[in-house]
Symmetry: C2
Subunit: 137 residues, 2 copies
Amino acid sequence: MQLSNSSQYAIRILAYMADQKDSELMNATELAEVLDIPYKFLAKIMTELVKVGLVVSIRGREGGYKFEKKTSEIMVSDILDIFNDSIKDEQCVLGIGFCNGMCKCALHDQWMEPKHLLQKMFRESSLEDIAGRGCKI
Amino acid sequence: MQLSNSSQYAIRILAYMADQKDSELMNATELAEVLDIPYKFLAKIMTELVKVGLVVSIRGREGGYKFEKKTSEIMVSDILDIFNDSIKDEQCVLGIGFCNGMCKCALHDQWMEPKHLLQKMFRESSLEDIAGRGCKI
DNA sequence: GTTTAATTCTACCTTTAAGTAGTAATTATA
DNA sequence: TATAATTACTACTTAAAGGTAGAATTAAAC
């Protein structure tokens, strides 16, 4: 019951970037070191974030990554969507395809409340919101 | 963000068995058919459930599986534990190892409430509780 | 122009989860 | 005792996630 490594890494990367307002361009080497994420894996993730338009990359010497959109407009759920990791409204905790009002799984009722809270946490937390929180890693 | 197939299957199997109070012994062929779970995979899961002592198996002709403990004494979290799928108190939603009061991740505060609800759902739901719920699958 | 520091691309390797196959062991029943 | 029905064991295959390697591309700086 947890997020994929890619999602976890991506959120940590972007939250860290959002926290470093001063230095507008950040490169992969530095991010990998500070956040203790394998460099090549981080680079792969960054390429995905660029493709999907969350950040832009500046190639070549003195290059790096910066946000394409305002951090207040990027929600955690947007990041999870990239790695197919967000919680869909119709997601059943026991994985049956037809779990709904008519025919529901044994945990259907108990699942509703935590599901909604998780969705709320992911959908209503922007990078700006969470950037200041916790330690800078 | 979901349980492993093994956990999902195991919960569905045991909830179904708990629901069939009358027929005390259930065999793998029937369970696999009714629950639409690959037979060999189900058999592998049942062997784990036997090893860990939740159910006992009767081998040979007319054999099958039945509960070893009362269904009111088996919690969903006991099942998740078998497949290392339950939510630990110290589990960080962003996967950092040292997420606590001193140094916490960017989502630490938001994660507390849904985490506790999930733990509550898993720890406080017994098979007896959930057996009657929903459809019989 | 050459060098250098950076991203990007393609392809691969490793680990884990998920699922399958075949056979041995067990036991009620005929 | 033979048979059929059942679980248990061992080993394999497949698919997906996680991670790595190396070369190509880009562009600033010298």
